[in-house]
């Protein structure tokens, strides 16, 4: 019940929560009045520009924040208020109903005054008391336990590359532990105020290799978690289906940070899974945007698309077809049998010769086996992500008029942003076998490392997600992506891509064919 008030703005009676503001102010109801909108899922608040939203968990409300004195009583959070008396149940009820703090001061205009009856108030206060109590699964004896997950159908070459980066990063992390900075003579304070609260944790990475059919993964994941409790899931590599892992993270409320997956899960209200981009689903949106622009009033465009069933191309092709058919485009799907290099490809190409647009969702071996190209007037779109990006083995006679969906920054523009990661690999003799997934893995590790510092010692899982969302946009080293950004309601950090082409038939490099597109 109290969960409903906090998260959904629904009171015990089922009626929407009502929040008012004084004299002519704006009132608010239901989901928009829910506490979570400002105080966040963790209850630890946020600092949005000049607007500071304080933590509302029991720890921060009911305990004194030590007036003066240097001993930290509570874990540091950015938005905590120092200058007020602790709340009691009575003064808290007054604050929620009338907007008056324990010292008699008026709360910010942003904070509504809520009409709650005694039962709802009691339930809400109970909820706040238990919210984000500092129970930290996955952290024990100075060790931060993390898992990385590989599905059985993930590419073995990429898997080795990802693991290499992860293991080096963790090893290095543990060889230079950063502890609290020393106290300064004059003030007795530490050089960095936050470092006073900073826990010094070693990282331990658990590799969870899934086996067998995807129907058994749920059970395997739950068993792994029982045996090796972890605080978060970092990176990893998926194949055709990542949904069981995504659902596992949501169900167990475990942050699942930037896995290398081509088909991420796209559902509305999930919270714990963050991705760099929508992968092939983003490619489908980029292609759809261009194809729809080709449509003329009396001449509907016909699109043929070829993909292998059982691979990432299937979901991508379905997403593209759904979007195009909504716009009146005719789509013919040609599904090839799983596996087999080039097998069935010639037939599919022959059958698809009539459309104005041909879309290929194929892996490098199939692309290398493409036969004669379609007529020059056919527009060809190829999935960059599946086909190997700029290293795609596209036959010379296809290169002139093939366009690549490219959900990254183009090679000649991302140099500086990528140099650090590439230098890092080279210095550690890490073979670069899959540059993009390895760079993304390094980026995921760096982001986690940074956000862990940001948490100080508030190891609360939803707070980890909220802090990542808040800091993402400041990051300058964004690897393959021109920029990254998240807000409290977003889960895909990079939102656009290019349509790219090869600049020359032989030895040409990949260039953008037009500007950055945000579909």
């Amino acid at each position: 019940m109290s969960v409903s008030i906090y998260l959904h703005g629904v009171t015990g009676s089922g009626a929407p929560l009502e929040g008012g503001r004084e004299a002519g102010g704006i009132s608010t109801q239901g989901a928009e009045a829910a506490c979570v909108n400002c105080h966040q899922r963790s209850g630890l608040g946020s600092a949005e520009g000049s607007v500071v939203i304080p933590p509302v968990t029991g720890d921060y409300l009911f305990h004194g924040h030590s007036h003066g004195g240097d001993t930290p009583v509570l874990p540091y959070v950015e938005s905590m208020h120092g200058n007020r008396e602790p709340y009691t149940a009575t003064t808290l009820a007054r604050a929620i109903r009338e907007g008056i703090d324990p010292d008699g001061r008026r709360l910010s205009y942003l904070m509504p005054r809520f009409a709650l009856d005694d039962a709802d108030m009691a339930a809400l206060i109970e909820y706040l008391k238990k919210l984000s109590v500092h129970h930290t699964p996955g952290i024990a004896d100075g060790i931060l336990n993390l898992a990385t997950i590989f599905t059985p159908d993930s590419d073995p070459v990429k898997r080795a590359g990802v693991l290499d980066v992860l293991e080096h990063f963790v090893k290095e992390k543990n060889s230079f532990p950063i502890g609290p900075s020393p106290r300064m003579w004059t003030s007795g304070k530490t050089a960095y105020a936050k470092s006073m609260y900073m826990a010094n944790l070693r990282w331990h990475l658990h590799v969870w290799q899934l086996t067998g059919p995807d129907t058994t993964w749920r059970e395997q994941l739950e068993r792994h978690l029982r045996e090796e409790p972890v605080f978060a899931v970092l990176s990893g590599l998926g194949g055709r289906n990542w949904a069981p892992v995504h659902e596992f993270c949501e169900r167990n409320e475990i942050p699942c940070l930037f896995p290398n997956v081509e088909v991420p899960v796209e559902t509305g209200d999930d919270f714990y899974s963050l991705y760099f981009s929508k992968g092939v689903l983003l490619e489908a949106e980029l292609i759809a945007k261009q194809v729809v622009a080709l449509q003329k009033k009396d001449a509907p465009v016909v699109v043929d698309q070829i993909y292998r069933s059982g691979d990432s191309g299937g979901p991508a092709a379905r997403a593209l077809a759904a979007e195009l058919e909504k716009q009146g485009v005719t789509v013919h799907n040609h599904s090839l049998a799983p596996g087999g290099t080039g097998h069935g490809l010639a037939d599919a190409l022959r059958a698809s010769g009539k459309g104005e647009v041909l879309v290929l969702w194929l892996r490098p071996p199939d692309i290398a086996a493409l036969g004669p190209p379609p007529p020059a007037e056919t527009r060809v779109y190829i999935s960059g992500l599946m086909g190997g990006l700029e290293d795609m083995p596209l036959p010379a006679d296809w290169r002139a008029h093939s366009l690549l969906a490219y959900p990254f920054d183009v090679p000649d523009r991302r140099g500086v942003r990528l140099d650090y990661a590439l230098g890092w690999f080279s210095f550690r003799h890490i073979p670069v076998v899959a540059p993009q997934v390895q760079a993304d893995t390094h980026l995921a590790c760096s982001l986690l490392s940074e956000v862990i510092k940001q948490l100080a010692d508030s190891y609360v899982r939803p707070y980890l997600i909220e802090q990542l969302q808040a800091m993402m946009e400041h990051r300058l080293m964004t690897g393959y992506y021109p920029h990254l950004a998240l807000t409290y309601h977003q889960r895909f950090a990079s939102k656009g891509g290019y349509i790219a082409r090869f600049s020359a038939i032989e030895g040409g490099h990949l260039v953008a064919d037009g500007g950055w597109i945000v579909p």
């Binding site: 704006i26 608010t28 909108n37 003066g68």
Partner: protein, 247 residues
């Protein structure tokens, strides 16, 4: 208070834009009262508390009006300043109807403008600002057709025209209220032009700007404002613009 003692290093990571920015904000905030002439060439600053005192002065004109009482911003402690001019950059934005438009044309279309900056996935301050616009618009009654309400997205890659339309619908926006998106660069240029860029969208702060007519000074409201307060300021500005015009 131990957590305040280390204020300059609240943000530890020195390479982020935010930390650089936070420090700049802190120093600027502490100076703003003492040194009225800020970067945006504000002639002076009034901090409104309790019974409000609004005395909007613009360069080149005599003092225009002083008001006090229940209508003036008392509830929200907003800071109101008069800014003679914001140079508008030559950028194009995409309006919620999908049309590409020049920012300057939209602002200088002759109507009084009320402008704010929002993003659709913001659940804390933006819904409050958009509701304020909605109720302000409603309060104008028949005068609504004269005003131009503009909301520019600070998260343009997420806020496609379709999302903006959906958002506008939620707040029952009429034809006089438009939302704008565009490239990241264009949105940034607009934010910088009105001095609302605070390092990133998560540091977005509530700012409302209004101007009675092209050539007239802008009224800048930093902080929250109620619909009545906004209406009061708006009508006051319109009136003084008319006085100047008929003089």
């Amino acid at each position: 208070m131990f957590w305040l003692s280390g204020a300059p290093s609240l943000k530890e990571s020195a390479v982020t834009l935010r930390s650089l920015h936070t420090r700049r904000e802190q120093s600027r905030a502490s100076l703003s009262v003492l040194r009225p002439s800020r970067l945006d060439r504000v002639p002076w600053v009034v901090l409104l508390t309790g019974v409000a005192l609004v005395a909007l002065v613009s360069r080149g004109f005599a003092q225009e009006s002083t008001t006090e009482g229940a209508d003036a911003p008392a509830v929200t402690s907003a800071r109101i300043t008069s800014v003679p001019r914001y140079p508008i950059p030559a950028v194009h934005l995409v309006r919620d109807d999908g049309k590409e438009v020049a920012l300057a044309d939209e602002i200088d279309d002759g109507r009084p403008v009320v402008l704010n900056f929002i993003f659709t996935t913001c659940s804390s301050i933006c819904p409050l600002m958009s509701q304020t616009f909605a109720q302000f618009d409603h309060k104008l009654g028949a005068d609504r057709s004269r005003v131009h309400l503009m909301s520019i997205s600070v998260d343009p890659e997420e806020d496609t025209p379709a999302r903006l339309r959906e958002y506008a619908k939620k707040f029952h926006a009429g034809p006089e209220w438009q939302h704008y998106t565009g490239t990241v660069e264009a949105s940034l240029a607009a934010q910088r032009a009105f001095n609302v860029w605070r390092g990133d969208k998560m540091s977005h702060t509530p700012v409302t700007l209004l101007r009675a007519a092209p050539g007239r000074p802008w009224v800048r409201i930093d902080g929250f404002v109620t619909p009545s307060e906004l209406e009061h300021l708006y009508r006051q500005q319109l009136e003084s613009a008319q006085t100047v015009a008929t003089r």
